[in-house]
């Protein structure tokens, strides 16, 4: 069991993801942790955010006094529109999502399987879930990155050999950012790319339900 103080904070994970988003990309951010990402995008880097409720070019929350109640994110927080942004209807918004125009979607997850299966819309014991746009976005984005804690609150691994939870989209996840590590989903294996400072590859392996290739592991550089 690793020391909790070595786990990355949500903000640190967000910074790790932000570092991997490339200039010029259009990115969709899921509800929850992924919404922390924009703060960590360097200002010289032009990344546009797509919100599936029809906002292309979503900006940060409004300054006090400038709130527009008709301008929200998919997570229903008040947001702004960047210069050069545009409003679209739900059809065009999901044409963007499914049509391969999202360079990346960063989503939360309950489970990710070694083959890239994503489970994030319903827990097995629930009668139903809230799917929102997750299935469309996960099926359509060029890259799906997952951002989550490495294990459940009970300590069970969320990265596993085969999924046991209801599927959101099959084989779509290419990269996983957790509070312990960055894991890349390759064709035949999971590759441990980097670990948090103070966390060892063995720590990560033992908190993971699938085999990790640790040959090229590095340490995550934190600038926070």
């Amino acid at each position: 069991m690793i020391d909790n103080k070595n786990l990355l904070t949500r903000e640190q994970i967000a910074a790790c993801v932000a570092k991997d988003l490339e200039d010029g990309w259009l990115v969709n951010l899921g509800i929850g942790m992924p919404t922390l990402i924009p703060s960590y995008i360097p200002s010289h880097c032009d990344i546009m955010f797509h919100s599936e409720n029809g906002v292309v070019g979503m900006g940060p929350p409004p300054l006090p006094g400038e709130e527009e109640l008709d301008l929200i994110s998919a997570g229903k927080g008040l947001v702004t529109l960047i210069p050069g942004g545009a409003y679209v209807n739900h059809i065009d918004s999901f044409a963007i999502a499914r049509g391969g125009r999202l360079d990346c979607a960063v989503l939360g997850a309950f489970q990710v399987a070694a083959n890239g299966d994503l489970c994030n819309w319903r827990l097995p014991h629930q009668k139903s879930g809230s799917v929102g746009g997750a299935m469309d976005i996960a099926a359509g984005a060029k890259r799906v990155y997952v951002m989550m804690t490495h294990t459940t609150r009970e300590g069970d691994p969320k990265i596993i050999a085969e999924r046991t939870y209801p599927l959101t989209a099959g084989g779509v996840v290419s990269k996983i950012y957790t509070d312990m590590a960055i894991v890349s989903v390759e064709t035949n294996e999971l590759v441990l790319e980097a670990v948090a400072p103070g966390v060892t590859p063995d720590d990560v392996q033992s908190a993971t339900g699938a085999h990790l290739n640790i040959e090229k592991v590095q340490e995550i550089q934190l600038n926070l």
């Binding site: 919100s51 029809g54 109640l69 929200i72 229903k76 209807n89 299935m135 099926a139």
Partner: protein, 231 residues
Amino acid sequence: MKNKRAESLEDAVNIVVDGATVLIGGFGPPGVPEILIDGVCDNKIKDLTIVTNNAGTDRSGVARLMDEGCVSKLVCTFPWAKESFIFKELYDAGKLQLEIVPQGTLAERMRTAGAGLGGFLTPTAVGTDLAEGKQIHKVDGKDYVLELPLRGDVALIKAHKADKRGNLIFNKSARNFNPIMAMAADQTVVEVSEEVQIHELDPEVIITPSVFVDTYFVTGHYEVGKGSKQV
């Protein structure tokens, strides 16, 4: 020119009758026709099937509609949210049927109905519970789910402005499902914050042409999420 303006809320919503399938615009609070919904509540309509993205926010809009017992089935994408506590109460008590549809598929199923098409193939939900019982087609080696049109008897939508012919424009992210639903029902009823003269809407910027609008009701501007007289 046909006068599509309803002079009273009652006139605007009396097309909504017991047992109808009603498409209701909005994503979160923006774009929800809260006043029209109040009118349906006032008419004590029963057994509605409501198609809308969320399961209501707090106590106004779709939440009020459910709370007042008007709804027997909800077709939506994201029912489990803190602000949808009225839905949860009713669902847990077995008083509400629920059908979950992925958001892009929900929009596309309505557009398909509005565009006179018979269905579409989507990669969304392949291999998931939400594709259960649906046909799978392979195109170019990739699997797609066949999804069918979803049509409403009535669409209740919200727009920013209508001109006197019924052309519509929307406000920011309150656009969302509204223009799609306007195409997808036998009767489309719009609440608009403002009515303008015909020449005041540039034909290049009209989002919903008048041909998709049957009735509009001018509500004036009110604070989003506060439409319900119950609040």
